[in-house]
């Protein structure tokens, strides 16, 4: 016998569900549209004060505003840079003091609401492509300084903003308000408290890393709902890395000795931020090169040391991960002419000329591969992308040579790249899991045509 729903009860249930659904939707809408109250901050005595403007200029460098708000070939801070998203590109906005197309008409409060709260002047929410969850940490004083700089220290440019390429209804901004209200920190709740840190220098570093530097926006893993898993050292995942940004893995910046900065000295970190290289490692890929070139290299020595000192206080991510225990067996075998795997052959034939058979490279010229966090990272994306397409060091004022590594994608097949990358991750004392050729194929497919080895060139044997 079939059980049947009594028709009356079914009808009542359905109506009930519809009403509930509608009420729920209204509640969600209400939550989204309920205005966010923000604390207005006191205006400075004079916004055009030269010292305040100068401080704002420095903070704009530390905050790398130009990375997103200046388009390639465009005028400084006039916006228009496309930031890709899965549903369509978002464009950065004109933050020059032009009154009509820029932020010249913004009050200090409106500026603050955009910068720290993610709320536009018209009350709509900003896409979190703008890193307001990090900037939320900026002090009132620093917000005033940035405001002074952008209103009085930047040349106004008349250039209209471009609306996102996202189709309606995905382009509606109210769901962004839900995200912001649920996940973005309130500036007062995360107000920076220097007393949490052992000394003034570490506190200054923490402030720069968490706030203006927004290092976590690339280096901290994100939850499924896309918020960073931690905004400061109170979370064990803070700056734990393995986030893929434009194809490059923003590595673990915590104290892990193999895939993190555990074996880097404070001076190593300072040199990397100032020059994109240090005696044993180099910045690869565009995201961190841009951070170095537009932002970090311009900071004062004391601030770079503060950043490094703070990073050095972060304990390793707990649990077993990649390891490193220096071991000269690989170097000895290679130097005796023993190439006992395809990986070894590929390394000797393609790489050892620059990185040497001891994998220590040439200091500041060709980085070491032994014990290198870019090699040992849990997610090997950068390593694969680098072997396929190459990279060149960022050219900075203190180290202008953009030393380069050629790509090998044109002559190595997927299986060969996988064998080589796996070799790199398991020799000279490096201990990280092997790389699958499927990953190589996927990354190769994402890259422009020059990196495609023809069938014949891939001597898979």
């Amino acid at each position: 016998m079939k059980r049947r729903w009594p028709l009356q009860r079914l009808k009542r249930l359905l109506i009930g569900l519809v009403v509930l659904g509608a009420l729920g939707f209204l509640a969600v809408l209400g939550y989204a549209f309920w205005p966010t109250h923000t604390r207005a901050i006191a205006a400075p005595a004079s916004a055009a004060d030269a010292a305040l403007i100068e401080r704002g200029r420095y903070l704009a460098l530390a905050g790398d505003c130009t990375a997103c708000h200046t388009a390639p070939g465009g005028k400084p801070f006039a916006g228009g840079l496309a930031l890709a998203s899965p549903i369509g590109a978002i464009y950065s906005t004109n933050i020059t003091p032009d009154r009509r197309t820029g932020i010249g008409g913004y009050s200090l409060d409106q500026f603050d609401r955009a910068l720290r709260h993610g709320i536009r002047a018209d009350g709509a929410s900003l896409y979190p492509a703008m890193p307001f969850p990090s900037y939320a940490r900026l002090t009132d004083e620093d917000v005033r300084a940035l405001y002074a700089y952008f209103l009085h220290g930047v040349v106004p440019v008349a250039q209209a903003d471009r609306s996102p390429d996202i189709p309606w209804p995905l382009s509606m901004r109210w769901p962004l308000a839900l995200w912001r209200k649920t996940f973005a920190p309130s500036p007062d709740a995360v107000a920076f408290d220097p007393k949490r840190y052992p000394d003034e220098r570490v506190a200054r570093g923490a402030y720069l890393v968490q706030g203006a530097g927004h290092c976590g926006s690339c280096h901290t893993p994100r939850a499924l709902t896309l918020q960073e898993r931690a905004l400061d050292e109170s979370g064990a995942q803070y700056l734990a890395g393995n986030q893929i940004i434009d194809g490059w893995n923003a590595i673990n910046l915590r104290g892990n000795p193999a895939d993190g900065l555990g074996r880097w000295s404070e001076q190593d970190i300072v040199e990397t931020l100032r020059t994109g290289r240090n005696p044993h490692a180099a910045v690869v890929g565009s995201p961190m090169a841009d951070v170095t070139v537009h932002s970090m290299q311009h900071l004062a020595d004391a601030d770079l040391h503060a950043i490094a000192a703070y990073l050095k206080t972060l304990p390793p991510v707990p649990g077993a991960g990649p390891g490193f225990a220096a071991n000269d067996a690989t170097a000895k075998a290679l130097q005796a002419g023993i190439n006992d795997s395809r990986g070894a052959e590929l390394y000797v034939d393609n790489c050892a000329g620059c990185h040497r058979t001891d994998a220590k490279g040439y200091s500041r010229v060709f980085p070491a591969i032994a014990g290198n966090p870019t090699v040992l990272a849990r997610e090997p994306d950068s390593l694969v992308r680098l072997i396929l397409g190459g990279s060149s060091m960022p050219a900075t004022v203190a180290a202008p040579s953009a030393l380069g590594m050629p790509g090998f994608g044109w002559r190595l097949g997927d299986a060969e790249v996988a064998a080589l990358a796996s070799y790199l991750r398991s020799q000279w004392g490096n201990q990280a899991p092997p790389v699958a050729s499927g990953l190589v194929a996927r990354i190769r497919a994402e890259m422009p045509g020059e990196n495609h080895a023809s069938e014949e060139a891939a001597h898979a044997r």
Binding site: D349, S392, S454
Partner: protein, 229 residues
């Protein structure tokens, strides 16, 4: 990103790497180390020319106890590919008069003929000459007879109408050597046979581990394409 060319690191890198592999770029070689099999159809030479070229290459550097010869190493394929280069059309040379055949060799090429012409006319004349003397074309002779014929070309004892036999022979021998010892990306030196024979390590770019050690270099050669011998 500010308007500074140094920030377009990716694009700049690609330009850089094009310079970093200059041997390859300069030679205009295809980016593949394609090594077609011996019976690949030639693109420049006709079937009868091809038969001559293969037979001659096999005598100039024969396979023996030391290893493969020019034929096995793909030298005819190398020469066929060279026929598609500007060199073969005489575009790398001064090709206008006066043509002074007995000028010293330091004054360069003294003929109206391009390398393509030398091969086309030379092979026809060579097979014609052989046919007259031996009743068969070159490729059908036994090796000893072939050697005799080649000696007649080399010494100039054989007389061709349009291209001096000695000049034809010199070009052929030069190209066979080049095909045997140039990088396999150009079609010859297949299996890196030529380099293995003389112990040349190829394009590995780094021998720092071996200087001042007084031991024989133990690694096999490697091609620009990455292929190992």
């Amino acid at each position: 990103m500010p308007d500074d060319p140094s920030f377009t690191s990716r694009r700049r890198f690609l330009q850089w790497s094009a310079v970093a592999v200059p041997a390859l770029a300069a030679a205009g070689a295809p980016a593949s180390g394609q090594a077609p099999s011996a019976d690949d159809r030639p693109t420049f030479f006709s079937a009868s020319e091809w038969a001559f070229l293969r037979a001659a290459a096999a005598r100039l550097i024969p396979a023996d106890a030391l290893g493969p010869g020019a034929l096995e190493a793909g030298v005819p394929e190398f020469i066929d590919r060279q026929m598609a280069t500007p060199w073969a059309e005489g575009r790398l040379w001064y090709m206008q008069g006066p043509f002074v055949p007995d000028a010293p060799p330091t004054l360069g090429w003294q003929m109206r003929l391009t390398p393509r012409d030398v091969y086309r006319l030379g092979i026809a004349a060579a097979d014609g000459w052989t046919q007259d003397r031996h009743g068969r074309v070159f490729a059908e002779l036994d090796p000893a007879a072939q050697d005799g014929v080649l000696q007649a070309f080399e010494s100039g004892k054989a007389r061709f109408e349009q291209v001096p036999a000695a000049i034809f022979f010199a070009m052929l021998l030069g190209n066979v050597r080049e095909g045997f010892f140039s990088d396999p990306v150009h079609g010859g030196n297949r299996g890196l046979a030529g380099w293995k024979l003389i112990g040349f390590p190829g394009a590995r770019a780094d021998f720092m581990d071996w200087v001042e050690r007084d031991v024989a270099y133990p690694l096999p050669p490697v091609s620009l394409s990455g292929q190992r011998g």
